[in-house]
Subunit: 323 residues, 2 copies
């Protein structure tokens, strides 16, 4: 009898379900070994910076039916969302998008009209944001629907996640929380804002908010840093307040800290916070200073702390979902 | 009641199953509209040439469990195959691979040990061929297993599919047919051969054989051209002969023409065919002249013809699978 190599198991302890996302990504980097260089030229930032050091960057992001959208979403918006997820990563580097390739995983029973509207939405969004779809691949799957897009970009000076220092002000664009109601598929990628920020000498580190501040802010920090965040300063999306009022069991500020898919820019600023607010040229995009990076008093001190009442907003162990 | 937008249909005439692959790709390009430029800067070649005209190229290819491999394949070889499918596209441009990004679509019940061996195989293969995995994305799906890899490369002079002319000799590397038995996952991407060919002034057009000569050779030709191919000259893989002997119902030469996944280079050569054979430096890789491009006598003349007995090897309408 020939050997077989089963992919799946009913025993959770043998499967990737036993791991959190961060742990799984850590193992994958370990298994890739020498094949993956350290960030910013490898995994670990919003995009990777290509080794030619000409400021070219690359990112890849996927869209899965049932996970990132449902049949309630018009297909054009699913097409836009696939591209905009990637555009948001490019924005967080302060880069401009250039070209993309598309990979589809479609079953034979996919509706022609749905695919047409999806593809037209993707195409219009690409033209709107000045990028082109230059290649692709179609693979047939038995059931479900997934697609992936890989996007290249160019930045005169890519802004990395790393580098936040003691005394940096923490800023966020737009509003936070309750994205699931509508914003997750209707957001505006902050490309113009990211490109403008990359030109300011005071910008230090930047990320786009996909998992919420509670997970994404620590990605900017080192273990000896603590973020002091006034929860009353968090810019709340109307839907975050509505969810609190509707009995979600969370305060609106908790939605703002932990809800995913805000696709806003979170960055640290080494300079005069008031001056940034005066210089900010985007009248249609909110800009809020939510706190400051300070020294962490001890290794078990909370990563995020509200200085008004000393309430830990995030425990020392950090925050992880998707388990 | 809110509107819903169903993705799937039980009525075949409403689904993409009603279309062939070529038709589906044609619609997708049409729907993308201005978002996709013509080849070589857009879809339609083995890779797309980036618009900076610095010789950078990009390609994307996927691997689906149950379609491109089964549980009979050691996971390391699945990892290698995902990368090598892309390397073969890069080879067909005469390019060198540079960096790649990986997208995984994994269910929660994916075995840790399978994923480890897959990833280690991919990593070792990347190091072997001088490329690096610089970024990635993981998406959770309910069932099945898919992955995509997007690979960048660089070519001093990218060799396109288009350009074959009357009188060009048709050459193929390696052997053809019966790939499904083993070769499909154990092939050597013809990178060195492709890069060497790109440096020869006589090379005109090139493609990597993924769907078989019957589909891939017409991709090099214009409608006013006919390929004269001696079927007795086709280099047959041992497994193609074994399949004929085992009662596959096809001649070995038919396997060589229509089996997929040969991953050999097919190219046209405007010069002395004997001289190419003398110059060819790869003693471990077969090189075979299988025929010549001629004028097509009429629009309904066969695209591929055996000149010895005038047997049409491919009808005027061409060949299409995946319907």
């Amino acid at each position: 009898m020939s050997a077989t190599y089963p992919l799946f198991s009913e025993h959770k302890e043998e499967t990737i379900a036993a791991w959190g996302e961060v742990q799984l990504l850590g193992y994958i980097r370990e298994w890739l070994g020498d094949a993956t260089p350290p960030a910013p030229h490898g995994m670990g930032d919003d995009t990777a910076v290509l080794p030619d050091d000409a400021g070219n960057v690359i990112t890849t992001d996927s869209l899965v039916f049932g996970r990132h959208f449902t049949t309630a979403l018009p297909p054009e918006l699913a097409g836009e969302k696939l591209l905009k997820r990637n555009l948001s990563d490019i924005a967080a580097m302060g880069a401009k998008p250039t070209v993309a390739v598309l990979a589809g995983f479609f079953p034979a029973n996919l509706r022609q009209d749905w695919l047409q509207r999806f593809t037209e939405g993707l195409g219009r969004c690409a033209v709107e944001w000045g990028t082109r779809i230059v290649g692709g691949d179609l693979a047939q799957i038995n059931a479900g629907w997934s697609a992936n897009l890989t996007l290249l970009g160019h930045a005169a000076r890519p802004v990395l996640r790393t580098g936040a220092g003691i005394g940096d002000w923490i800023f966020v664009t737009g509003q936070l929380g309750g994205s699931i109601v509508s914003w997750h598929a209707r957001f505006t990628p902050r490309l113009k804002e990211g490109q403008w920020l990359a030109q300011q000498p005071e910008i230090v580190s930047m990320i786009d908010l996909t998992d919420g501040i509670a997970k994404d802010l620590p990605a900017l920090m080192t273990p000896d840093q603590q973020a002091l965040v006034n929860r009353s300063d968090l810019p709340l999306r109307l839907e975050a307040k509505e969810q609190e009022a509707g009995g979600s069991g969370k305060h609106a500020w908790q939605h703002a800290l932990t809800d995913g898919e805000d696709y806003e820019l979170l960055f640290t600023w080494r300079g005069d916070a008031t001056e940034l607010r005066e210089r900010w040229p985007f009248t249609g995009t909110d800009l809020t200073c939510i706190g400051r990076i300070e020294e962490r008093p001890s290794p078990d001190a909370p990563l995020l702390l509200d200085p008004m009442d000393e309430l830990p907003l995030l425990k020392a162990s950090g925050y992880e979902h998707f388990r």
